[in-house]
């Protein structure tokens, strides 16, 4: 029965492992740090599996024994016991050796990870908020400092330094296919170096419980070739696009007259709130509400009309708008590429 169970298990595991290519998976590394870690995970897993199988064999031996149940419990075979003692001591010694080996291995892996960002050219400050990420691109020229939210564009193949901090509770920044996680702690600054080998979109998520909407605090790292990245940066520095249609124009007016303006910033307009994500180029992002919804007209409308239904407990309040007002605001925001 036990054997049957283990066969079933092996099959199940094999099935599961087929699906391990994902855009948020530690087993699908896309950068040097995650590759090093994936290798480490597989090595540890393999070694542990071997140890576990050996222990199970040792456990199965008495079950296979043909000998009878011992009749007199206190009559012991001194020779057998001293042989066993030698086996046990050897096993303990072996355990110690393996553990020393693993300790050294993880020490050196840690050094490898620490070396990744030593020549980082780009510094990005990531601030955790309940429940979104503020992303600020640092630059020596103040006019080139760029603030955006939830999506982090980086140049592919170059190490990038992230400065992690928080304004409210502890969050944890984790993009598994690029690197391990690191906490964002109020009053502290942590440094995480990441590097994506190839262009691509890598999903991450807050990994430290941070309250009601911890589950919906996603982030994306978008690695692009250097030229495309630079172009993106320059685009993002531009003020918001002028509304093209009458509806969008009405939307802008509404945005500035209604509660939206109290929290959000749209560059080039009087809207200058800093406590919620910067919406200057909101339509250029792939998702809404920190990875909760894909960017689309319908989802924008759903999010604005009923934020507490989409993300209950989030700090975006329900604003009473009628259908026309909602359409107008959505039309305006949709144009903010």
């Amino acid at each position: 029965m036990k054997r049957l169970a283990s066969i079933a298990f092996a099959t199940a595991i094999a099935l599961f492992l087929q699906g391990c290519a994902g855009w948020q998976s530690a087993l699908d590394p896309k950068g040097p740090a995650a590759s090093e870690l994936a290798w480490l995970i597989w090595f540890f897993t393999g070694l542990c599996a071997v140890v576990w199988v050996l222990v199970m064999i040792a456990l199965a031996i008495p079950l296979m024994m043909r000998s009878r149940v011992r009749a007199e419990p206190l009559v012991l075979d001194a020779g057998a016991d001293s042989r066993k003692l030698r086996v046990v001591i050897t096993a303990v010694g072996l355990t110690a050796v393996i553990l020393v080996g693993l300790t050294l291995l993880s020490f050196f892996a840690n050094r490898t990870l620490a070396a990744i960002g030593s020549d980082a050219v780009l510094t990005i400050r990531v601030t955790g908020h309940q429940w979104w990420w503020e992303v600020r691109y640092e630059d020596a020229t103040p006019s080139r400092i760029l603030t955006t939210a939830n999506e982090i564009h980086i140049p592919a193949g170059e190490p990038v330094r992230l400065l992690l901090t928080s304004t409210d509770v502890i969050h944890s920044f984790w993009v598994p296919s690029l690197s391990g996680k690191l906490d964002l702690i109020p009053g502290r600054m942590n440094v995480l170096d990441i590097k994506a080998d190839k262009p691509g979109v890598y999903r991450g998520q807050c990994a430290e419980f941070c309250g009601a909407q911890h589950a919906n605090m996603g982030t994306f790292i978008i690695a692009e070739p250097r030229a495309k990245f630079d172009a993106w940066w320059n685009d993002q520095l531009q003020p918001a696009a002028e509304p093209m249609s009458d509806e969008a124009k009405a939307g802008e007016d509404l945005f500035l007259k209604r509660p939206c303006v109290m929290c959000h910033k749209i560059g080039g307009t009087p809207a200058g709130g800093t406590v919620a994500p910067d919406l200057t180029h909101v339509a250029s992002r792939q998702t809404l509400a920190a990875g909760t919804l894909r960017m689309s007209r319908g989802n924008l409308a759903a999010w604005i009309a009923d934020p507490q239904g989409v993300k209950p407990g989030s700090h975006m309040p329900v604003v009473q708008l009628n259908g026309d007002e909602l359409n107008a605001i959505v039309a305006y925001l949709e144009g903010l590429k």
Partner: protein, 177 residues
């Protein structure tokens, strides 16, 4: 007799706790019309408004979640810019026992919504109604007018004044602990 008393006690506790601990993030329907009652006149003899038509005040004023949301919004909307953490500056102090327009939830709500002479702007269109209620509840707690079991505690910040749950109880003027 004893079980009955115990159950009664539990029921009272339950009511108190429900009111305090409820976390209704969507008190008003998301599909509202966007219309809000407009006052007929801005003139208010005696500074008192007529008694409110909804029971929002009661559901907001002793609720810990709404109070703490109010505290967050107080900071976010820069109320301190004039009221300086409740101590008063350009605007009147909020943590003393003086109320120019009355200390009721409804009055404070009206003050924030419609504004007052001499500088208090109207936030009618700038803050959704529920959030105004939250702010009103918090403003009351600044002067010890909210139950201390529901009032917010200190901020993770430089604290310029005692936290709201440690203000002397306004009803008893802080006479009893």
């Amino acid at each position: 007799m004893r079980p009955i008393a115990a159950m009664l006690l539990l029921a009272i506790l339950a009511l108190a706790a429900c009111q305090r601990e409820e976390r209704d993030t969507r008190p008003q329907s998301a599909l509202g019309s966007g219309e809000q009652p407009t006052p007929v006149t801005t003139l208010e003899p005696g500074g008192q408004r007529p008694s409110p038509t909804d029971n929002k005040a009661a559901s907001f004023e002793a609720n810990a979640f709404h109070l703490s949301e109010g505290k967050r919004l107080f900071g976010w909307f820069n109320c301190s810019g004039c009221h300086a953490n409740g101590g008063g500056g350009m605007g009147p102090a909020l943590m003393d026992e003086k109320w120019i327009y009355g200390s009721s939830m409804e009055s404070i709500h009206a003050t924030i919504r419609d504004g007052r002479p001499n500088g208090m702007p109207s936030f009618r269109d700038k803050i959704p109604d529920d959030q105004i209620w939250e702010l009103a509840a918090f403003v009351r707690s600044l002067s010890g007018n909210a139950p201390s079991s529901a009032a917010p505690s200190r901020n993770d910040d430089m604290m310029a004044h005692p936290s709201e749950n440690r203000m002397p109880d306004a009803a008893t003027l802080g006479k009893s602990p």
